[in-house]
Each structure stands twice: as C-alpha cells, then as structure tokens.
Symmetry: C2
Subunit: 404 residues, 2 copies
C-alpha cells in the first residue's frame, strides 16, 4: 500500500503557481519525503493552464513538469489533477466559461473539446517523466455541478471523453477521476457509483468525516468515524464490476474541530489501521501537506489546520502517526485480507442515502464493525454474479433485515 | 488635446501578464508611439494582482511598473485600470468573490476593503513614475452589475471609497472611474451621470457606436454616428457641477461590421474632427492598439478587428487617420470652442433613454447638428444655475418642444 500526501504549497497555497519558487517547493517536498511519503498529488489551476479557449500555456505546463522534477529529486512520485476547478471551497473557472460566456463545463462541446486538448497537452508533456504516475481529471469536479447542471449519462460521456484523451496521449499512464462523496451517498447526484467504480484505472474515494456529517453525528473517535475510510473502500469494491479493481483513498484527513487536534493522532492511527485491513487498496494520500497560511482569508475554518506539517514546515503530532504508518507499509494485494461475508447493498441510485452516515445500510455495516466483524460489501448486482463473488472470495451474503 | 491608445497586447491579449515579454511589449508600444500617440491605457487583471483576499502579489504590481517603464522608454505616458474585471466580454473575477464565496463586489465590506488595499498598493507603487498619470478604478465595472446587484447610492459610496484610497496613496495622481454608456442612457442603471460627472479628476465617456444601437439604427457614416462622441462629451459637460471639468473620451473605436472596415477611416476622421470642436476635452484614447489574435476564441466578432494595427503590428488605413489627427493636435482649453446655446436636458434618472439614440433629446440635438449647429447641453439643474451657465459661456437655452 502506498502512502502519499496531497501537496498544499506552504507559500501562497495554490496561488504559488503564479510565483513559482522551486526552492520553496523543494523544501516543502523534502519535508514530505522525510515523513516516508512515496508520492504527492499536485494541483495546477485550470485558468493558468488554459486562460482562453484556444490558448494552452506552455509555460504553465512546464511549471507542472518542474514541480514534478523537484519531486523526483527528493524521491517522490507524482499524480497530477488538471481541471481545478474546485479546491477547498474556491472554484477556479477560466473567464471563458462564466458570466457573459456562460457554458456548461460538462456538456458544451467546445468546452469539452478544450478540456480534452488541455489534458492531451499535459499528459503528453508529463509522459516522459518516470516519477509521474498519471493524470486525475480534476479535483472533485462534482463540486461544480451546482453551476453546471448535468445528468448522469452526460457525466458518463464527459468522463469517458476526457479519460480517453489522457489514454490516447499517454497509454501507459494511470489515469483516474474523482469526486466528493455525494457520489456515494446522495440520491440524485449525477456522478454515480457505477462511474466511480468502472471508469479510469482505479476507484477513488475521498472519505471525509465532516462532509457527510459523520464525526458530527457519532463523535471524533467513534467506530463510525474511524471506520469511515475502510467502509468507503469496501463500498467502492462493492460497486466494482471486476474483482480486484484497486481503490485509492485519495483524500483522507483529520478536520478540526470535528476531529479535535488532540484526537487527530488517534483518529489517524485507527483509521489508517482499519484501511489496511482492506484488500486491493492502491494507497492512501493524506490531505494535506501544510497548514494554510492564515493571512489567506476566507477558507472554511477546518481548512487551515489540515496539514501534517505546520505552515512553516514543522511536524505536527499527526505527522508522526502518518510517518509510523508509512514506515510500516504493506503490499496492496494481500489476498489474506479478503472478506468472506458481504453485506448486500440495494444499488438503486435513489437508495444511496442508505449507504451514508445516518442510513440503514451504513448502520448495519457499522454495527458489525462494532462487534469486530469486517464485512465486505456487495451490490445487489454483484450478489447476482456468482463468478464475481467467487473471485472476490465472498462465500456468504447477508441482507439487511426488513424494517419492522 | 491628448491622443492615446488602449493597449491590447498583440501576444496573448491581456493574458500576456501571465507570460510577460517586455521585448514584445516594447515592440507593441513603439508601434503606437510611431502613430503619434502620447499615452496608453493599460489593463492588469484583478485575479493576478489579488488572487486571494489577503494576498496582493508584489510581482504582479512589479509587472505593471515594468510595462510602464517600457512605455516611458518609447515616450508614452500611461494610465492604469486596476479592477479588471470586465474586458471585451470576458469577466475576470478572483475566485474569492464567486460561487461558494459569492460576495457583492460593490457592497461587501470585506471585498471593498480588499479593493481599496489593492488600489493603495498599485497607486503607491506607480506614484514615483513620472510617465504614469493616474489610476482608473477598473474598466467599465458597471458591466458587472448583473452579477452584483447594487443601488445608485451604493455605487456612489463604492466610487468614493476607492477614489479616496487612490488619492490618499497618490495625492497628485489623476484618478478617475469609468463606465459603459448605460450610465448615460439607461433609466434604472445604478451608475449615474451625476457620479460620472462629479467623482474623480475627469468625466469619462466611452461613446461606442454599436452598444447603444447607433450605427445600426442610423448608418455607419450618418450624422448621429459621427457626432456620437462629440455628443457624449457635451452630455458629460451638461451633467457637470463645475464649468470646466475635463472630459476624457477614454474609449473610441470603429467596430465592424457596424462600421465597415472601408468606412472606418472616414468615420474616425469625422468623429475625431467633431470631438475637437468641444471645449475641455482632455484627450481621446482609441480602442484599440492591436487586432486580437484569431486563435483566441469566443470574442464577439467585432472585437477581433478594432486595432489601429494588425495583430502582427502593421498599420491599418485607420491608423493613418489616427496619426494625422494626433499630428494636428490642439490644446485642450480652447475657449473659442465654447458653445453659446445649450439644449436643456431633463436630468431625472428615468429620463435617461431620451438622451440615447432613438430618444427625443438625442434626436433634437442631432437635428441641430444636421443643420450645422453645435449645441451645448445643460441639465435642468445647470439651467437653474446662472453662474454656472455664465462660466460655461452659455447665453441661450433651448428646450425640447412639447410633444403634440
């Protein structure tokens, strides 16, 4: 299992691309390598890569390559999210997609073609760098749905088009897409579990304990909270159509005050230990590297203190837990981890809330976890596929009891 | 009377700030100096100056200074619009003002404070450059009203706050604000003629012949079209509260197809000649310097061909007319130009459409112009102020005939 960190630059947050200081980047990344991380996830900004339709900035792509080069120097692999897009509450839209030029970023053919052109350019430029693993289309693009109404089949087409562009430009790259957890838990959300679990090289989960009202509802160190990431992995596997499709816990963090700073080390230790009981986990990438400079205004409060390191690069107690886990890493294909009994999930789209905190399915899985039982999850679709169940090593199915 | 050019960089349009090439800027500006221009108006981008609330980029302000320095080398003065904001249909909003962080850019106290901080920083940095004349708050901020609902008294407060910030940082600078022509012609527009005619060092007009359906209604070389800029100057003077307040024709251009390319030289020659019959014109600044690179998509068609120079720097026939006018420049305080007879305008806000193309007041003024009569304009407020009329040299008032 791989351990990585989402890289939030200490100087200027993601605005550092405007004033890129590779010395500062090197110091930041050396600090992460020093924790035992093996990779970082980096985030250029869409308006800087492609400020105009018809203008892809070579210099901006070169900057991404330069950061990847610095990562290589300190021994880190890199994954690159391109269409930001959304970052920690801020949405970076190029001017050519908004106001007078309002265009749907998922469905407007000109926009999608431009996005594909950009992904092609970035993928082509990074392909030759051995420490760059692949492209992630963009960070949680489903946060942009409120401004760009879209239907599930349109999201599917968008994902297919953009992932195909990456694959054409860089066939051997590990290209993925991701979404915030509405994909798993919100009935009418146009990004679907099926899209998450079938498109791209891996299924991505971002199991944040605050956004789904989990830590708030159950407590910072409650079983539901420290098992949430493990549960998200099993839920992802339960929606897959192939037995060993890898799952990447691409964002995992300890947001205060939902996880008080004093509880963060215990939360991280327990949550990471629980994730490691799952089979087929490609890796865990912690959010994030550095606390945000408090001179940068307007972030939601929890965003300022998510770093493993302080803004000036000092290790927080959380970082020691992360480093210990990374030092103790295991391989990601440990078949002994397979889970023999699966809880069966009605995978109708409208049933998604049942799988979220507060939902019946979620509660049933967590009740088992409280009893020390590690259940797999199988969608009803999987449960009807004996071959897939066998390949997953699932020998028993358990169904939710009917409501009294 | 001064002659200038709105500088639209040939390489990358205003995205050139991301890849600033001072050699290319020098070549562009030398071409404008070669036309006899004495100043350029330049446009940094708000999101690059202030990408985050709490982050003003020194490097971006240094870039503005560097462009001003290059202008000095070729003998050009400079005025700087800061809060772009709006440019040729594209709106550049910092991420911290939109979507999840939606804030009214005119009325939110945090935003206004940040804007004042930015203007203070830019003004302070430019104050020492003898060829920089002053600050313009931003290009046509009233184009942003649709996304930021605002009342006239709130606009007034916003203008006062920001102009005061400029004046505090740079007392001797010539600081102004501007707006597209809805200010003069649209009944319920929150930017008012009074604000235009009283706040800042000069009254600014942007007499575009297309945006008010003038060239379309009357024809490219019709009297209404070739007198529109002259009329806008007189209208501005008619709303003033001091007799010799200067007026700056800050944007003037020949947009195709409304002014066909073949008619552009004649339009420019006639329109500039007409403007020069007005007293108290500080100058005319042509929009724009260079045709937009057609590889940059999505501009309204007319925006691509507004340059005096082609995108690769060659003079267009229009440029020869501009150069001839600039070579023949006059002083801006020629009292012989004073107009003895004023047409009196009911300056109630809701009467503004009467003053626009298609309106009764506009038609009456233009009818006089067709007869070779150059009328001043006096608001009803001015008409009740004998001292002001006398200082303007107005000895006769003419009122619109009552409708039958």
């Amino acid at each position: 299992m791989r351990y990585g960190v989402n890289y939030t630059p200490s100087q200027g947050w993601f605005h550092h691309w405007l004033d890129l200081d590779l010395g500062a980047v090197r110091a930041d990344l050396a600090g992460l390598a020093g924790l035992g991380a093996d990779h970082v996830r980096i985030f250029p900004l869409w308006p800087l890569l492609q400020p105009h339709r018809g203008l892809i900035r070579t210099a901006a792509i070169d900057d991404v390559g330069a950061v990847a080069g610095v990562a290589a120097e300190v021994g880190l692999d890199v994954t690159v999210d391109v269409l930001q897009g959304h970052l920690s509450s801020f949405d970076f839209y190029p001017a050519w997609t908004r106001t007078w030029h309002e265009r749907n970023i998922y469905t407007d053919p000109d926009v999608v073609r431009a996005q594909a052109d950009l992904l092609t350019a970035v993928a082509s430029a990074l392909r030759g760098r051995p420490n760059v693993l692949g492209i992630s289309l963009g960070n949680e693009p489903n946060n942009l749905v409120p401004h760009n109404p879209v239907k599930p089949e349109q999201v599917d087409e968008w994902l297919d088009t953009l992932l195909a562009a990456c694959a054409r430009a860089w066939p051997e790259g590990q290209h993925v897409h991701n979404a915030y957890d509405a994909v798993w838990y919100t009935a009418d959300h146009p990004f679907t579990p099926r899209a998450a679990a079938t498109k791209g090289a891996m299924t991505i989960v971002h199991p944040w304990v605050f956004s789904v009202n989990c830590a708030q509802r159950y407590g910072a160190l409650a079983p539901e909270t420290v098992h949430l990431a493990e549960y998200a992995v099993e839920l992802a596997k339960g929606h897959a159509t192939t037995p060993e499709r890898p799952v990447w816990v691409q964002e995992h963090g300890a947001p205060a005050p939902h996880i008080p700073a004093g509880d963060a080390p215990a939360f991280a230790e327990q949550s990471l230990t629980n994730v490691r009981t799952c089979a087929d986990v490609w890796g865990v990438t912690w959010w994030c590297s550095h606390d945000v400079d408090t001179r940068l205004k307007d972030f939601p409060a929890l965003e300022y203190t998510l770093g493993l390191l302080t803004n000036d690069g000092r290790r927080k107690p959380l970082a020691d837990v992360y480093a210990a886990a990374a030092a103790d890493r295991r391989t990601d294909r440990d078949n002994s981890k397979k889970r023999a009994t699966a809880l069966v999930l009605d995978d109708a789209q409208e049933n998604r809330p049942s799988a979220g905190p507060g939902g019946r399915f979620f509660a049933a899985w967590m009740d088992a976890a409280r009893r020390g039982e590690r259940l797999a999850i199988a969608s009803a679709t999987q449960a009807a596929d004996p071959g897939l169940l066998a390949a997953r090593g699932i020998t028993g199915l358990r169904y939710l009891e009917e409501r009294m």
